[in-house]
């Protein structure tokens, strides 16, 4: 462990004594994120500047430590879970808004800034930052960039990648590079586009230049209740088929509505089999026209109740119900495993039925609250870890749910990412050539393989020799991104 102590001293000299943690309790705290995997940390550092980030990267290189970037630790796929003696780089002290420039519709922020704090700072400017993951009160912009985070309003406005102009990155060799540009286009390949969603494996974000969107002039929010989950899902398809793309289209089943109501008291109908939260925004006349279309689609599918938000307070209450879902589920059982996969919108009913069936078979409690308009499912399995054998059932059900989504033509993840949790499912959707090429992309950024190793790519995914040989890099540059996940990593 000599290298750890030497690395600690070096980092403490660069960052300050209080900014580096190595006590067992601290290491334990940073050994996991919000997923159901747990690893171990060697050191934890709290940089305050780009220079500090560079020092972290250089120190890690000098002492052969892996680097695991971490924002607020709200990640659900284990991308911020360290394995082995990794150096965990926590960006929570880099939380400043550096600049807001409405004339260029952009803001520069540090990676540790909470998503919601940017929204709050923009109040009164006429602009907003659109991506709104449910964790936005505590999740960081840097983490949002890492997972290409979504949120209810990404249906109409696009996920995080559509809202990032540029990133100042610290690369694995300790150099700083700006990928993307403040303007609409940058010279070179779209490195910005590939870094967003790369889960911290391509570089550390020192600053992000994000896109500001004009606030919509009019907003209409409504909550619809249905007697059958199928009717609710069919309404989603019906709305899209009518050529209407609402700002948000969120579905919740009865299990989650009941949990939320007893917690948030948002006035959701607890007797409905499913509810649909619909928000339409834009120019007043367009909003009125689209609300008519939404209501027609709902009527065609047997809507039972419609509640419209007449005031901003009522809108806030309706959203409170949706956004408290993950706080409310502690009332069902002490632990949960939140899933994230995307299916074609027209397959929602079928896949949802399959999810209920899988959980019935494994005798697990499942509730669903999800971005229906995007086809982005979030089955939530609630359990009590102390029950013998329950984790095996949860993992078995999880795998079946993933296979179900993939068989329906879906994606492994809509917004939480692959991390550790899903990396070994990657061969379900990609060929060995696809994965080898992805490994090449990774090693093009990080020939050392030091940045957040073991995440995203499965065991055995390798760039192969051709690329490295052609680039004239040394042979050590061949990344074997995978390597098996150690025993005991699942909680």
């Amino acid at each position: 462990m000599a290298n750890l102590e030497a690395a600690r001293r070096e980092l403490a000299a660069a960052l300050g004594e209080g900014e580096v943690l190595s006590e067992p309790l601290a290491l334990r705290l940073y050994a996991r994120d919000a997923s159901i995997v747990e690893g171990s940390a060697g050191l934890v550092a709290f940089p305050r500047s780009a220079d500090d980030l560079v020092a972290c990267v250089r120190t890690a290189a000098a002492h052969d430590l892996a680097i695991v970037p971490r924002g607020s630790g709200t990640g659900l796929a284990g991308a911020s879970t360290p394995i082995g003696d990794a150096l965990v780089v926590v960006t929570s002290k880099m939380d400043r808004i550096l600049e807001i420039r409405t004339e260029d519709r952009l803001a520069w922020v540090e990676p540790g800034l909470f998503n919601l704090d940017l929204g709050t700072a923009l109040h009164g400017t006429g602009f907003t930052y659109m991506p709104d993951p449910s964790s936005q009160q505590v999740s960081s912009i840097g983490g949002n960039v890492g997972t290409n985070a979504g949120g209810p309003h990404c249906l109409a406005y696009g996920v995080t990648s559509a809202h990032v102009h540029a990133l100042d990155l610290v690369l694995a060799d300790g150099s700083l590079a700006r990928v993307g540009a403040e303007g609409p286009e940058a010279a070179g390949y779209d490195l910005r586009g590939v870094v967003v969603g790369a889960e911290g494996t391509l570089g550390l974000v020192a600053a992000a230049c994000v896109r500001l969107t004009p606030e919509p002039p009019a907003i209409h929010t409504m909550l619809m209740g249905f007697d059958a989950v199928e009717d609710c899902a069919a309404t989603v398809s019906g709305i899209i088929a009518r050529g209407v793309v609402p700002a948000a289209l969120e579905m919740m089943d009865q299990g989650i509505v009941r949990a939320v109501e007893s917690f948030a008291h948002a006035g959701y109908p607890t007797d409905a089999a499913a509810v649909l939260l619909v928000e339409v925004d834009g120019i007043a006349h367009a909003v009125a026209a689209e609300v008519r279309e939404v209501e027609a689609a709902a009527r065609a599918n047997g809507v039972v109740s419609v509640r419209e938000a007449a005031t901003p307070e009522e809108r806030g209450l309706l959203w409170k119900g949706r956004k408290s879902a993950f706080g409310a589920i502690a009332r069902i059982a002490p632990h949960y495993h939140l899933h994230d996969c995307v299916v074609p919108r027209t397959k929602l009913v079928e896949v949802l039925g399959g999810v209920y069936e899988i959980c019935r078979h494994e005798e697990l409690t499942v509730t669903n609250v999800f971005h229906a308009g995007d086809g982005n499912l979030h089955p939530l399995l609630s359990f009590d870890r102390s029950e013998p054998g329950v984790l095996e059932r949860v993992l078995r059900a999880s795998e079946e749910i993933v296979r179900l989504c993939v068989d329906a033509g879906g994606s492994l993840s809509g917004e939480h990412g692959i991390g550790l949790e899903k990396r070994d499912f990657m061969p379900l959707v990609f060929t060995p050539d696809d994965l080898a090429t992805q490994a090449c992309v990774r090693s093009a950024f990080d020939p050392s393989g030091r940045m957040n190793p073991m995440k995203v790519l499965p065991d055995g995914a390798r760039c192969g020799d051709f690329a490295v040989a052609a680039a004239g890099a040394d042979a050590a540059g061949v990344v074997d991104a995978g390597a098996p996940i150690p025993e005991g990593t699942w909680i």
């Binding site: 286009e185 590939v194 919509p216 793309v245 120019i283 074609p344 090429t437 992805q438 052609a470």
Partner: protein, 348 residues
């Protein structure tokens, strides 16, 4: 020059494998509509993707279209319009889908509908050495692994041949209109602030054209907002503002700068169409290297880039960030360096 025109992706793969083995430079060709974008290069052969021209899948309820790389934009437009949708790329009808993604031009409607890159959700690429690589997913949202499609979009055919793409499409608007105003300076900024959600605000030396799309009541409301801050000279119902094709000049540059810097780069120019709020300006120049050099200097000072999209001049010499990463990427996708070597930024 030899032209290879495969009709299957297997033949595309064989052709590129062969070219790699012989280290014989090759250029990927679609409809040749964006061929001026990129540095001039010498190649032994061309490979046309126009033979791969199927619409693979389209379901209006999914709002996604999957097309082979050689499908013409005009054919895709017709197929989508039958179901009341469109891909808002605004490329010429004779352009191919793959070529359009590879060139990633800006649409005049980018203010409302964003850049082309955000519409590409899945892509299949044949690399320089003939591997078939797919990334992304056929869903509107996906985070699974490294988005190779992001790298291929705008790569000008230097990383591979785009044989298939899935793109997000959107409902066609119920009505379209162009409102022309002829007021002087500062009009654009007032319009940007006063008019909610225009599809485009295109400034020329003489006038400003505001593109509106949506429900009929919606564009009336927007027209009212325009009249509140500027003098309306003309209303063209059913129209949409033109792109760079409307500029009559031997050389056209597609400059991109932070939106507030458009004024500074357009100073002294007379033939331009500038996308207010976006920061793109198509600028017409005589075939005169000095004028181009001077413009590029102003654009660089404004923090932007100025590739030529018509006539000679190439991409320019703007610095490429993380050039080592670029070189390793190019080597990974095109190990024999046969795909139009030198056409891309940084001499790649």
């Amino acid at each position: 020059m030899d032209l290879i025109a495969p009709t299957t992706r297997e033949r595309v793969r064989a052709a590129l494998r062969d070219a790699s083995t012989r280290r014989s430079p090759i250029a990927i060709i679609g409809g040749r509509t964006h061929a001026a974008k990129g540095n001039r290069v010498e190649v032994d052969r061309e490979l046309s993707i126009a033979g791969l021209d199927r619409l693979v899948a389209f379901d209006r309820a999914e709002m996604l279209a999957v097309a082979e790389g050689g499908m013409r934009i005009g054919a895709l437009r017709e197929a989508l319009a039958e179901d009341g949708q469109e891909w808002p790329a605004d490329a010429p009808d004779e352009a191919t889908v793959g070529g359009t993604v590879a060139a990633a031009p800006s649409s005049p409607r980018r203010l409302r509908f964003g850049p082309l890159r955000d519409t590409v959700v899945e892509l299949e690429l044949v690399t320089g050495d003939g591997r078939l690589v797919r990334s992304g997913a056929r869903t509107v949202k996906s985070v699974q692994g490294y988005d190779v499609h992001r790298l291929a979009t705008g790569s000008l055919g230097t990383l591979g041949t785009i044989v298939q793409v899935a793109v997000k499409v959107r409902p066609l608007p119920h009505a379209r209109r162009v409102v022309v105003v002829e007021d002087g300076v500062e009009t654009e900024r007032r319009l940007l602030e006063a008019v909610p959600l225009p599809a485009s605000i295109v400034a020329t030396a003489e006038r400003v054209e505001i593109g509106l799309e949506g429900w009929p009541e919606e564009i009336e409301e927007q027209t009212g907002a325009i009249a509140g801050v500027a003098t309306v000279a003309e209303i063209l119902d059913g129209d949409t503002p033109a792109g760079p094709e409307a500029i009559d000049a031997p050389v056209v540059v597609e400059a991109g700068v932070p939106p507030s810097k458009l004024d500074t780069i357009l100073e002294g120019e007379s033939a331009f169409r500038a996308l207010i709020g976006v920061g793109i300006a198509w600028i017409g120049l005589p075939d005169d290297g000095d004028r181009l050099t001077a413009l590029r200097r102003r654009v660089a000072e404004a923090g932007g880039i100025a590739p030529v999209i018509r006539g000679p001049g190439g991409l320019g010499d703007a610095p490429v960030p993380a050039i080592e990463v670029h070189r390793r990427l190019k080597a990974a996708f095109d190990p024999a360096n046969i795909l139009a070597p030198g056409r891309f930024w940084g001499g790649l």
